[in-house]
């Protein structure tokens, strides 16, 4: 069953190459995927092995093409992938003459992302992500806008190097664990890795995964790439594919918990670089798309903060992991919605320069409403999904904290808690840039560019509405996702089932 989630987009891509109608096939495949994904997620809590599959493709060392919903994090990311993939393919406006390339690439990215999150074998987990990267590079280079070649070359080099460093870390991890298998359950059940090796592996993993997630200071590929990329590619990469790095860190964390613990202070400094430094850079952006690109880099800092809280506590922090997962989901949906709508603004007005825009709300009220909703979500307004994630992140920073009044103030806090206090200012920063951009674009007097702009048609609204529903559902009822991660009734987590 799960294999269909990957095969549907792949087969659709092949069918399009074979001459089927590009848009129809792509929308149909991702739509079917969305339905299938929702059904599987609904059935998963009763049957955690649903649709899993395992084929041994290599004996020495044992590598399996195994798919499965490993735990609630996988379910959440799978849902995120199918929702964003459908929205991205549905909302993209393809330039005439490149339909095949456009839809085939998007489908391959979607298939790679879904495959990575469904893989329960480290090897294919890594491989599917690489599969998704190549079409990403090609799309930015061929069909991007603005300074596309420069941006595409930059993202290619950064991510290729990040992947190589990551691969080195993963191979070392497997070799040090002594397991003769790449399957997650075997790896996680394998004996502990000696501490000196853990430091090295943790460093490689942090740099490798960190580059893929645009952790400061390896982030400078992200904003230009998202600004130049075609909208569906930005949506898929910023929304879904980038989460691969965080997903990998959270998944492999138990194996190198001690190693990562020693890097936490440095990690806190880097993630504050994401939140504060990149936040300031974001305020300074003059174009809507590069502002969104930078904001997406900035928000990665919060998720890293949750990861740092988890790592600092040695894994004891029970809300850090749910916080990270909810925020990954929320950010993926909200940034995809923002990129989709900013693409609409570009088409309606012909520009994304903030100073050339203004008063768009008058001509396009629905667009303004939906964009406003996504912007509010991105800031972290209560009632929308990002709020649930961010509040949990901040709470996780102070989980199990008891003030010791007899100590000097500085010694009352750990690195993560100090980081949390600084990171709170990020909320102010994101409110500043988002509200400014909204005001510049939609409010005030209409300017020539926005005077006769067309509003969203019913069909064009659909992807944004689906994303908005996801934001609202998770925002109003966060348990919809948290129930996957902390199943209320299932006593044993999948981890402990792996011994057999």
């Amino acid at each position: 069953m799960l294999a269909f989630l990957i095969l549907l987009p792949l087969c659709a891509a092949i069918a399009i190459l074979g001459g089927f109608s590009a848009r129809g096939t792509a929308v149909l495949a991702t739509g079917a995927n969305l339905v299938l994904g929702l059904i599987l997620a609904a059935l998963w809590s009763n049957n955690p092995d649903i649709g899993s599959l395992s084929l041994q493709v290599l004996d020495k060392p044992a590598i399996h093409l195994s798919l499965g919903l490993f735990d609630g994090m996988s379910v959440t990311m799978m849902l995120l992938s199918v929702i964003v993939a459908f929205a991205a393919i549905f909302s993209g406006k393809c330039p005439a003459g490149s339909e095949k390339l456009w839809y085939v690439s998007c489908l391959l990215i979607a298939a790679g992302a879904i495959g990575a999150f469904l893989s329960t074998d480290l090897f294919f987990f890594y491989a599917f992500h690489e599969l998704a990267l190549i079409p990403t590079f090609l799309m930015i280079g061929m069909l991007g806008t603005g300074d596309r070649k420069e941006a595409a070359w930059k993202i290619t080099i950064y991510l290729a190097f990040g992947s190589i460093i990551l691969l080195a870390g993963l191979l070392w991890l497997v070799s040090a664990s002594g397991a003769n298998s790449f399957q997650f359950d075997v790896l996680l059940a394998a004996g502990t890795i000696p501490e000196p090796a853990q430091h090295g592996i943790a460093a490689l993993l942090l740099v490798g995964f960190g580059t893929l997630v645009s952790l400061f200071p390896f982030h400078s590929w992200a904003a230009p790439a998202y600004a130049s990329a075609p909208a569906p590619v930005s949506m898929l990469h910023a929304g879904v594919l980038k989460k691969f790095g965080l997903f990998g860190l959270l998944r492999l964390y138990p194996m190198v918990s001690e190693g990562i613990q020693s890097w936490v202070p440095l990690l806190v400094i880097l993630l504050l670089g994401n939140i504060l430094w990149v936040g300031m850079v974001t305020i300074n952006q003059k174009r809507l798309d590069s502002m969104l690109g930078n904001s997406s880099v900035m928000h990665m800092g919060y998720i890293f903060l949750a990861f740092a809280a988890l790592a600092e506590s040695g894994g004891a922090n029970d809300i850090a992991l749910p916080a990270a997962v909810v925020l990954m989901f929320a950010h993926g949906i909200s940034i995809a919605m923002l990129f989709a709508l900013s693409d609409r603004i570009q088409q309606a007005t012909g520009t994304l320069e903030l100073r050339e825009l203004g008063g768009l709300a008058k001509a396009a009220p629905r667009l303004a409403f939906l964009f406003g909703l996504a912007a509010m979500a991105s800031i972290g307004l209560p009632g929308l999904a990002n709020f649930a994630g961010e509040i949990m992140v901040f709470l996780s920073g102070f989980r199990h904290w008891t003030p010791a009044y007899d100590l000097p103030l500085g010694q009352n806090f750990t690195a993560v808690q100090l980081g949390t206090i600084c990171a709170l200012w990020g909320l102010v920063i994101s409110a500043v840039y988002m509200l400014r951009a909204y005001r510049q674009t939609f409010q005030g007097k209409p300017v020539p560019a926005t005077d006769n702009a067309k509003d969203l048609s019913c069909c064009e609204r659909m992807p944004a509405v689906i994303l908005a529903i996801a934001l609202l559902v998770v925002g109003l009822y966060p348990n919809s996702i948290l129930n996957f991660i902390n199943p209320p009734e299932r006593p044993s987590a999948p981890l402990s089932q792996s011994d057999n």
């Binding site: 390339l101 690489e130 090609l138 280079g141």
Partner: protein, 489 residues
């Protein structure tokens, strides 16, 4: 059927082609190529029929020189497949070959170009079986001398002639090293038989003379496999030689070089019986492999000619394979042995590289150029060809889900298990550089535009060959087991 007849049969095919060329001038040259391919395909069938003689005592003198184990069969098959593909490539290349004949445009005197690779193939097949320094020398010379002619085949083309001279001089030099090394080893151990070498080495009072001899042998082998310090000829010769010869050099000759490297090193790398010699040998190999990886990958970065790029990439791949050789794992329940990893790497390397050379000949036929700039805008001109080249180049770069990944993966795994952290570190730098220069070509195809936007004409041979090799690259990327079965893993 006795295995000795295999090579005899192949030589016979080559002689028949030569006779046809000499005495039936009316025959069209590409038909010669087709005959040759047919003969080799039959040879491939014979390979499966051939069985090692049940009573080797019957022919003791021959059995001493000639091994017929699973490894030998694998490399014989590799040589045959490689030669068949190279002959197909040569048929595709004949228009360019015809430009440099006595009457430009005619195919006069190009018939030997289909016979010579067969002799080289016979030499490579002997190399696959050679287990005595003498038979190694003889087989290796058959290959090398054939290649002197093949490299300089377009003798009216200055580039090809220059390549021929360079190859001749360095080839002769390396032969000198080889003979000198054999003499030293024979002098110290009293035997040229590699199966006796292990116990003789154990009994040596001092390892130094044997190690000196081995160092000389390694120099000669480095010439064959294209490793530092004998790598200097590669870029110029690859660029100047006719493209089918280049493909043959870069795959067939390299593979044959590696099989004899494995056979020669086996007694010297035995860590149990000769720990001291093994330690020294590992150190020498580690230095060679590190330098080869760095030189090949870093020097490839600034290249603008695609053939030169492939030349440096072939040095780089030799470095990665050497990494597996340096690690010298014996294999276990859970890991591959070094010969298996090397064989796997070479088999996937054959598929990817020959595919790329087919694409290169197609591009050369259409644009008349072998520069990377000739690939500009290919994504728009011929999307299918561009897609295939993208897959093949990604595989050469070692991207997961392509055949190229597993080769590197096994090599790195062996090196990590052998604690060769220095080599692994350099190898990762090499892979990172590799991504850069292979992607440069992909960038040219998709992100640049060319003035000429007409589709590239692809000959039927090239279309089927590129298609098959690309699909194989992808299938083996998901499911590498078939090659490992052939290797007996």
């Amino acid at each position: 059927m006795s295995p000795y007849l295999l090579e005899a049969y192949i030589v016979l095919v080559g002689l028949v082609i030569l006779m046809l060329e000499a005495f039936v001038p009316a025959l069209r040259k590409e038909h010669l190529g087709v005959f040759a391919i047919g003969g080799l395909v039959f040879g491939l069938v014979l390979l499966f029929v051939a069985k090692a003689p049940a009573h080797p005592e019957g022919n003791v003198e021959m059995a001493r020189f000639y091994a017929f184990d699973s490894q030998a069969i694998f490399y014989k098959g590799l040589a045959l497949v490689c030669t068949i593909l190279v002959l197909l490539l040569a048929i595709d290349y004949r228009a360019i070959l015809a430009k440099f004949t006595e009457n430009p445009g005619s195919e006069e005197g190009t018939g030997e170009y289909y016979a010579l690779p067969i002799f080289a193939c016979a030499g490579m097949m002997w190399m696959a079986s050679a287990q005595d320094l003498v038979s190694i020398f003889v087989a290796l010379e058959l290959v090398t001398i054939t290649f002197y002619i093949l490299v300089a085949y377009m003798r009216r083309n200055v580039g090809s002639l220059e390549a021929g001279v360079k190859y001749l001089i360095l080839g002769a030099l390396s032969t000198g090293f080889l003979v000198y090394g054999i003499a030293w080893i024979y002098g110290t151990t009293g035997t040229t038989d590699l199966s006796l070498m292990a116990e003789r080495l154990q009994a040596l009072p001092s390892a130094t003379p044997a190690l000196f001899g081995l160092a000389l042998l390694l120099l000669a082998l480095a010439f064959k496999i294209g490793a530092v310090p004998m790598q200097l000829w590669i870029p110029d010769v690859y660029q100047g030689a006719p493209t089918p010869t280049t493909a043959f050099l870069s795959v067939g000759s390299k593979a044959a070089g590696f099989i004899i490297t494995l056979r020669i090193l086996k007694p010297f790398m035995d860590r149990e019986s000769v720990p001291e010699i093994a330690q020294h040998t590992t150190f020498i190999l580690l230095v060679l492999c590190g330098l080869t990886i760095l030189y090949g990958n870093l020097a490839a970065i600034p290249q603008t000619n695609f053939k030169r790029l492939l030349a440096y990439s072939s040095i780089a791949h030799a470095g990665f394979i050497l990494l597996a050789v340096t690690a010298w794992g014996k294999g276990s329940e859970t890991t591959l042995s070094t010969p298996q990893a090397v064989g796997f790497y070479l088999a996937t390397y054959l598929i990817m590289t020959i595919g790329i050379f087919f694409a290169l000949v197609t591009i050369r036929n259409a644009t008349g150029s072998e520069e990377i700039a000739a690939f500009d805008g290919l994504g728009k001109r011929s999307p299918a060809l561009a897609l295939a080249i993208t897959v093949l180049l990604s595989a050469l770069a070692g991207l997961p889900l392509t055949a190229g990944f597993y080769g590197k993966f096994f090599a790195f795994r062996l090196a990590i298990d052998a604690d060769l952290w220095f080599g692994v570190g350099l190898a990762f730098i090499g892979v990172a550089a590799g991504f850069y220069y292979y992607l440069k070509v992909i960038r040219a195809m998709y992100w640049r535009t060319s003035d000429d936007t007409s589709p590239i004409a692809i000959s039927p041979i090239a279309r089927y060959a590129i298609g098959t090799l690309t699909i194989l690259t992808i299938i083996l990327g998901f499911w590498p087991n078939p090659i490992l079965w052939l290797l007996g893993a």
